[in-house]
Subunit: 349 residues, 2 copies
């Protein structure tokens, strides 16, 4: 089958690899209908995080169950499934508390588990899914093809934006500022609106992203950055700042900007993978009682609820995919996202 | 009148200073019934924070109103009042949201305001109280002398422990770990119990503090520190950690210990003044979805509620005062707290 590998910075290759097979009775084999490239995939692509040896990449996909292991109870061949970006059994104490990203028996796509079993990366034609009952969310009916982008966004970006909004305590009447105009930031706008935010400001200086942010419900776009940007946000909200600031980047600069944009007693919900962000500045948090809640989003917990809204036509995050490429051309997709000529690239096998 | 000044590290003096007078129509003049020494007063005492020139010190007191300015509406001479450790008007947008520590017209004891008016430190015989209507909480009746220590604790430590518990989201059934066995940490135990915590673990290696912690409701005492201490806390809670960890110290070490003691998806409520704590480690917060909520406690917001419990005999944080000294002997009180031979010293004029 065809799959995507990263060999090093700037070096993405589409290769023919061995077909995956069921290895454990709790596995499912999934034929990928659509996968995509994540902003976090750009960190190794840009050489910010190292790639010591070639490896499979990708952690977002939807597909059709091809085959299930003997112990799989909830899924059937032919069923359409959404895969969250982390593998989990959905039954351990952490999963039961909705923190499936800390599953005691979980794992990551494209890595080996403790016993040496390999989970494929998501950017391929097929994926062996460990802990299939826990990991995958199956749909009752095969959805219309037009819904695939929206369903694929539930693998990561929509659930991650939702996690940022929950972390920041967004609810009816909240004032919200979103730092980051990538797919997660844009989904965070949608999530904040869905949770009842009264006013949403998006920080963005790219016209296409500003337009999508506005379509997703942002009332105001702020183009300034850094201290100038947070001063502008404070000005927009009584000179004090927003109730909730959603940090969807992961750099120290974005975090500082987010903290400085929150009102005293407000909350920063942060989901930007802290690749260059090593610490949060306690001083400005402490003195102004700004809370910091978030982390790697347990999207598995959110898929059922968000899925219902997508199927009901109430939520359409699929528009974050502004480019579709064949799987074989994944390298061009990475280039487009790296150069910010695409917001998010869907890969169709 | 007599008041306490700090001249530099280790140099506390009790001196005769000018009597305060009403300077603005919103002032009240308060005769101090009891004041006390704060753990945060030890930072300049220990030279951790600088004291460039001699200054008045102290920010916790209760007393009797002696005189009020022409515009004071809610207080009357003779009335017993509790003073929170920050001055606030209690009407600005931040105060209305319960963040009186960020009052737009507020200030700090022992400093000059923007117009050059001087607020006395709390460790004196009299205090000029700016924004008296907003700052002070008056009692309807003069309380029995036996209640003075408990009422004095509402100036800071009890409200601060409560803030830590609220920040960490303590509620009915929560599992809680408290880092710090100073007066704030001990009050945090009491606060967690009051909010319905199911189980409370206190980290302490000092017998007197362990005993008071147990009396305040701690079920288990952990004497280990650092990584060993947090490993012990995790062991006590399914190997995962506590729902809520209350960080009541303010050092980087305490913060790391607190973060490592929280379960995935748990929350650190932090109130330790970050004198040596400059940053929070984002990595362990992000990966485990541990939230960080807290800051300088807006105790003004909590006094009415906690006061009602104290007056009803349902809450007695007064036992954190294990030493009482005459105001003139404040220096001995600082020494005792610095050497940890006293938990908290009450100063009686």
């Amino acid at each position: 089958m065809r799959a995507t590998l990263i060999y090093g910075a700037g070096d993405i290759r589409s290769e023919i690899v061995r077909d995956p097979i069921i290895q454990r009775p709790t596995d499912a084999l999934v034929r990928v209908v659509a996968s995509c490239i994540c902003g976090s995939d750009l960190w190794p692509y840009r050489g910010v995080s190292p790639t010591p040896k070639p490896r499979r990449i990708g952690h977002e996909f939807v597909g059709l169950v091809e085959e299930v292991g003997a112990d799989v109870q909830t899924l059937r061949p032919g069923q359409f499934v959404v895969a969250p970006f982390v593998i989990s059994d959905n039954t351990c104490p952490n999963c039961q508390r909705g923190v499936q990203t800390s599953c005691l028996n979980g794992g990551h796509w494209g890595t080996k588990d403790a016993e040496g079993f390999w989970a494929e990366g998501g950017q391929g034609e097929w994926v062996r899914v460990p802990q299939a009952d826990g990991t995958l969310v199956g749909l009752n009916e095969t959805p219309d093809a037009s819904l695939v982008p929206a369903l694929l966004s539930l693998s990561d970006v929509m659930g991650t934006g939702h996690h940022a909004a929950l972390g920041a305590g967004v609810g009816p009447g909240s004032t919200v500022a979103v730092v980051g105009d990538g797919a997660v930031g844009l989904c965070a706008v949608l999530a904040a609106r869905r949770l009842g935010a009264e006013r949403v400001v998006l920080m963005s200086r790219t016209p296409a992203r500003q337009a999508l942010g506005t379509a997703f419900g942002a009332d105001t776009i702020v183009t300034e950055r850094g201290e100038e940007g947070s001063a502008r946000i404070r000005d927009l909200f009584e000179g004090l700042g927003a109730d909730a600031v959603l940090e969807c980047v992961g750099t120290d600069e974005a975090m500082e900007q987010a903290v400085a944009s929150a009102r005293p007693g407000g909350r920063v919900g942060y989901v930007g993978a802290p690749i260059s962000g090593k610490s949060a500045p306690i001083g400005p948090l402490f003195g102004r009682n700004v809370g910091l809640v978030g982390g790697v989003a347990p999207v598995r917990a959110y898929i059922p609820e968000l899925l219902a809204d997508v199927l009901a036509g109430k939520l359409d995050p699929g528009r974050v995919f502004d480019s579709t490429l064949p799987l074989a051309e994944a390298a061009a997709g990475y280039r487009a996202m790296d150069e910010r000529t695409a917001i998010k690239v869907l890969l169709a096998p």
